[in-house]
Chain length 352, copies 2
């Protein structure tokens, strides 16, 4: 196929592949009775969020309020979950504002967070849905035990502006039984005190084809699946032909027989290694390693003669696509290697 | 001192410290007869570039054309070096346009790059200054031997639109004698064929206080010194009170006695480790390690009870400040912890 004609470095999205990925996992979720709630952090594009909802997603997941604001401004989204403990007065004011535009839910894992939400939503027209974030083994945020979840559920119920909506977890990889037991215990304890656990939300791309194995899960949150990346490729979760995002770069120097330098560095590929060797896989040159990045240079090394020339363009599947989307003001949307648009990454850099 | 009142996460710049750092290194360069040409990649702010020039810098260094365009648009800059092999027709057109606005120089390390520049600057009103990039041991771009440099210098001279301006290197750390010999050899060989080597440009923050030890150097390029960071702190190049950039974050969860989670992840701190343990040092809590980043969460762990509470704000000196500047649309400029401005990072994301 002829290469996309665009100056480098550039982040390219093959829309055909991205759309196929969305449809394929939607079908999987449908066949297992799971609601799908994609995380927009991977693409940060309202256009693709809308496509995900059109294909059957119940809504979207965001990580920060600003991300939700950008996606909602992009239009046509009615259901948003922000999977984050929201704390400051500034953010709580913005959260309440957003809740008047869409069906909004958030998470909480401590009394301090619940109190903040409860006070901010006093006298709200519609109560804010709150899920309890549960640490089922990932070791990040989340209550540590099912009984802590039950205590928090009761606390949520004391606020007229909040509605206890269920449980949320980002589960450890490959431990569905353990996670299911944790969630079942929490559900029983909460139901024993007369509260209903409507939603049990799990997620994660590495275990995406095992989503149905965590019993009781009603909803799945997933981001990377729309583009896929080298981390999922090397885990066998996807194939190379299912990778929708690539970085197009130009060889700017071939200083020695075994070394070449490209115009994509950590400002495009990022330093995320995710346990892998090197900073991405080069399509058609799988034996060349991107062994070092400075901000604007990527260093390529090879045991055999590297076989690249100055000016040559190469395509790279990065280790981690979500962070790559965050590095550029716009991505190049393509179909069959023709440019469809230079799409502004509307939710790039949204950290607050 | 009272904390800066701003929602988190936020990138804060203490202008007093940054200005002192600029003045201190300018004095060092002046005392050693070195021209200083700061690299703007660290701050990406026209305001600070202008301050650097006002204090005596001969001009600025940029890595990409878009970076130079953004800085020149910010005003009052008349001398720009782009230390990059510039190749595509699109970029060469932009380069020629820029050369009409400021005194412009670039680097080249191959015949292909020199030919491209030479053709693009045919019949230019003023010739483009070209330095030859030399790999004196860093193993990135650059000609490999002094005789290759001499060949390239002669090639540059064949183009009427180009002016051979000298040698440029990003030297390996701690090897001034080896680097000096390399450059001296190249200079002799070039002068032997009747060409003048006006500029010998070296650089780098880790060796900044040894800049004068590379004999023959006429000009020093340096970026990080204006803010400093944990990488320089741990090398003993600066002190904590000389670190001008910090990330203000809020503790959003304290799930266990030894773990806390903050609202700054890799989208602010970046995954750059630079050989260090953890993703930054927390001011006032040096024993707590930021051991894991996801995009929007930083995980803090501690052997002793962590002693942080939900809602508490902490300040972090990141491993690498240049990449942090690139993550946010604006930084918070402060003096004595009062906000001076929310300064747009004009050259953020400029990769082409």
């Amino acid at each position: 196929m002829k290469p996309v004609k665009v100056d480098t470095p550039a982040v390219l999205i093959d829309l055909d592949i991205a759309e196929r990925n969305v449809v394929k996992f939607q079908e999987y979720c449908d066949s297992h009775g799971l609601k799908l709630r994609p995380h927009v952090k991977t693409h940060k594009l309202p256009r693709l969020a809308k496509f995900q909802v059109q294909q059957g997603a119940v809504g979207i997941t965001c990580q920060k309020i600003s991300e939700a604001e950008a996606m909602i401004a992009g239009g046509d989204l009615s259901d948003v979950l922000i999977t984050y403990n929201i704390l400051s007065p500034e953010k709580l004011t913005r959260l309440r504002k957003l809740s008047e535009k869409v069906s909004l839910s958030v998470v909480a894992d401590s009394a301090v967070v619940v109190d903040g939400l409860g006070n901010a939503f006093e006298n709200a027209r519609l109560p804010l849905a709150v899920l309890i974030e549960c640490d089922t083994g990932s070791g990040r945020c989340g209550v540590q035990t099912p009984s802590q979840a039950a205590v928090l559920a009761r606390q949520i119920a004391t606020y007229s502006g909040l509605n206890f909506a269920g449980l949320m977890t980002y589960p450890p990889i490959g431990e569905p039984t353990k996670v299911a037991k944790w969630l079942a215990d929490a559900k029983s304890m909460i139901e024993a005190s007369g509260q209903k656990v409507e939603t049990i939300s799990s997620g994660g791309s590495p275990d995406m084809w095992h989503a149905h194995e965590i019993a009781l899960t009603t909803e799945y949150r997933i981001g990377t699946y729309i583009y896929n990346d080298r981390s999922l490729l090397e885990k066998g979760v996807c194939t190379l032909s299912e990778c929708a995002l690539s970085v197009l770069a130009t060889v700017v120097s071939v200083p020695t027989e075994n070394r070449a330098i490209i115009d994509a560095g950590s400002k495009i590929l990022t330093s995320d290694l995710l346990g892998l060797n090197g900073y991405g896989v080069i399509i058609d040159h799988p034996n060349i390693v991107i062994d070092q990045l400075s901000e604007e240079h990527g260093r390529l090394v090879s045991e055999d003669p590297i076989g690249l020339t100055v000016g040559q363009k190469i395509s790279i599947i990065p280790n981690h696509v979500c962070v790559v989307s965050n590095m550029v003001d716009s991505v190049v949307l393509t179909r069959a290697n023709e440019i469809i648009s230079f799409e502004p990454v509307a939710a790039r850099g949204m950290v607050r």
